[in-house]
């Protein structure tokens, strides 16, 4: 236990800023999760592994001398097709089934991806150095890597583009219609199979963007996927489906929570505290709901 974070205000500022910038990335991943959960009613445990895979695409470009920031453009393209491929192979067989089946099936995909990435890229912790330098604030007391600012900016741009796309385009409208009522959408001539594939592809593309940004700002490792899945799940259940401002807010809240947990409890408990927070949120939610049920009595 270390409460230095409260004694020195600059560390608090540092933690908050880091957390907010990190949280925007989480929100981007969570938005993809909310999208597929809302439209297809599946929970994708492989979400985090898609993120890491996107990160490795950017890292791979970096290895070949291309600036990793281009990964933000390239990675979603590749990931879109990987997403559609996963949908065609596995997900379309579990869409109508029990949610637990989809959890288990995507768990299998997650293990598969984890190990394939381990073979392809090795088990080292890597990062793609963007060479953006750092900004010093408050008399050099707070350091802010420019890459984090860049990643937050790019995430916001992508989120806004996606929202406009969902509102205006034909596919966006079809996706929203399917989310509201798949049967009615089908009757009205929407090819739901195509919509599902596109939704999963868009989700994977979002993961690709987030992964490329994570490979620039933080580090990636083949086995680091599951915490990202859990974070996005947590953000979605706190914010609710289809509530983008809520997703952004709770994403940033989670980011700040994590930074403080890191300072106070120590880095070794960081992931543990995230998972524990998930359990606590679910339990809190359960008691809130059960109180509601009591009113009905």
């Amino acid at each position: 236990m270390d409460f230095m974070v409260f004694q020195y205000p600059m560390i608090t500022v540092q933690a908050c800023l880091d957390g907010l910038l990190l949280g925007i990335l989480f929100a981007l991943i969570a938005y993809g999760m909310a999208l597929q959960w809302g439209v297809m009613n599946i929970i994708n445990i492989a979400q985090g592994d898609l993120v890491i895979l996107g990160g490795y695409i950017a890292y791979f470009m970096y290895l070949y001398g291309i600036h990793p920031a281009w990964g933000v453009i390239v990675s979603p393209f590749i990931m879109y097709f990987i997403g559609v491929g996963i949908y065609k192979l596995v997900i379309n067989k579990v869409v109508d089934r029990d949610l637990f089946i989809s959890i288990l099936a995507t768990f299998g995909i997650s293990i598969l991806f984890m190990q394939l990435m381990n073979f392809a890229f090795g088990a080292d912790v890597v990062l793609a150095n963007s060479g953006y330098g750092t900004t010093m604030l408050f008399d050099n007391n707070v350091t802010l890597p420019n890459s984090k600012i860049f990643s937050a900016f790019v995430s916001i741009v992508f989120a806004i583009c996606l929202v406009i796309y969902m509102k205006k385009s034909k596919l966006g409208r079809a996706i929203r219609a399917t989310a509201q009522n798949a049967r009615a959408a089908k009757i009205l001539g929407v090819d739901t199979e195509k919509v599902y594939a596109a939704t999963f592809g868009i989700n994977a593309a979002l993961c690709g963007v987030a992964g490329a940004l994570i490979s620039i700002t933080f580090t990636i490792h083949p086995y680091m996927g599951l915490p990202y899945t859990i974070r996005s799940f947590m953000i979605v259940i706190v914010a609710g489906l289809g509530n983008l401002p809520g997703v952004a807010m709770s994403g940033m809240g989670l980011g700040v929570f994590e930074e403080f947990a890191d300072y106070i409890l120590g880095t070794e408990f960081r992931i543990g505290s995230v998972f524990l927070l998930l359990v606590l949120i679910l339990v809190y939610r359960r008691f809130k709901l059960s109180r509601k049920r009591e009113y009905l009595k």
Binding site: I103, L104, F107, M114, F119, I271, G272, L282
Partner: protein, 349 residues
């Protein structure tokens, strides 16, 4: 009924003779027994109660740490033991080892049961996928947190007391085999007894429609917690045995190994057939053979094969082996089949 007694006797005799028939596979057979225990207890939740948990790994890991800690802590200072790591500054005498093991197994079974009872009210109120993800989180959180606690070895792991030097090399394997086989027999008898009571019907009612069951006057929460406690008891016991068998406890790779054991128990139960007595046993056996084959012949690719296997089992065999047999030979399961009706249904399909 007579046929069943003969079958049980045959299995019991085979189980008792197995380590002498296949002396090279003693460790594998012990692991198989532990896997069957885990699959059978998972089936109480996932199969009979309809609560698909990934969290039984929590009790398994707890049992593992508790058994080893008690076994060491009864005679030596625990902190210094973990500090010394693999170097044996303290040595258990045979009687100390067996006393410690016995006490450790009791603690390893009791404490997880109590914990299951305590957290049950909060966790089991969740439904469906929220429950699944919550228990997944519980297991991983326990692994991450125990990996930061110094007294049980933190990241460097915990070496369990080595088997004392009695009865030669064979004795260790035989001891752990009979221990795990004993746990298996105990679990089987307990679960079989449970499945022949009203308790099983209540669990099935919860699975089929919990709200309706509650409306019929069943205190569902009470029975859910009891079911979870039964699972926790045997999971803790299995964990304690497995800890001694493996000889080394690591927080995320051995004890709270949600990515391996936590999924294995789900998979074994599904492969064999959820909601049947024999399903998890058959599933665990088949799965263990498959797994060892993968580990031997595709070394390095075993997780790839495992991932593919999970997807295939889940998508194509959600009913499991028992479900398939039941579909194929319904008469054997005591179901009366109306041939005309069956034909009509096939035509409808």
């Amino acid at each position: 009924m007579n046929k069943n007694v003969l079958l049980y006797a045959a299995i019991l005799i085979f189980g008792l003779a197995a380590p002498f028939l296949f002396p090279a596979f003693k460790v594998q057979l012990s692991i198989l027994c532990v896997l069957i225990v885990l699959a059978t207890t998972w089936n109480i939740q996932g199969g009979e109660m309809g609560y698909n948990t990934f969290g039984n790994i929590l009790f398994y890991g707890l049992g593992m740490y508790l058994c080893a800690s008690v076994q060491v802590g009864m005679f030596f200072p625990l902190a210094e033991w973990t500090e010394s790591g693999g170097e044996k500054t303290f040595v258990h005498t045979p009687s100390q080892f067996f006393q410690g093991m016995a006490a450790g197994l009791v603690v390893a079974a009791i404490i997880p049961t109590i914990i299951a009872g305590l957290i049950g009210y909060a966790i089991l109120g969740l439904r469906g996928h929220y429950f699944a993800i919550c228990t997944l989180g519980l297991g991983v959180a326990a692994g991450e947190i125990s990996g930061g606690i110094e007294i049980i070895g933190a990241g460097q792991g915990f070496t369990t007391p080595p088997f004392p030097n009695v009865g030669g090399l064979e004795a260790r394997g035989e001891f752990f085999y009979f221990l795990s086989f004993g746990a298996l027999v105990l679990t089987f008898l307990a679960v079989r007894a449970i499945y022949s009571t009203r308790f099983k019907l209540i669990l099935n009612a919860i699975r089929d429609n919990e709200d309706k069951a509650e409306a019929m006057g069943i205190e569902t929460m009470k029975y859910k917690i009891i079911g979870w406690m039964v699972s926790a008891f045997f999971c803790g016991l299995a964990g304690g045995i497995m800890g001694g068998l493996v000889g080394y406890i690591d927080s995320t790779d051995v004890a709270f190994d949600g990515r391996e054991m936590g999924v294995f128990m789900v998979l074994m139960a599904i492969l064999g057939g959820k909601g049947t007595l024999w399903g998890p046993i058959i599933g665990a056996t088949v799965f263990h053979i498959f797994k060892e084959g993968f580990w031997t012949f595709f070394l390095g690719w075993q997780y790839v094969a495992l991932g593919v296997l999970i997807v295939i089992i889940v998508i194509y065999f959600p009913e499991g082996i028992m479900g398939w047999l039941r579909e194929k030979y319904p008469e054997r399961f005591g179901e009366v089949v109306d041939e005309a009706d069956r034909k009509a249904q096939v035509e409808l399909k």
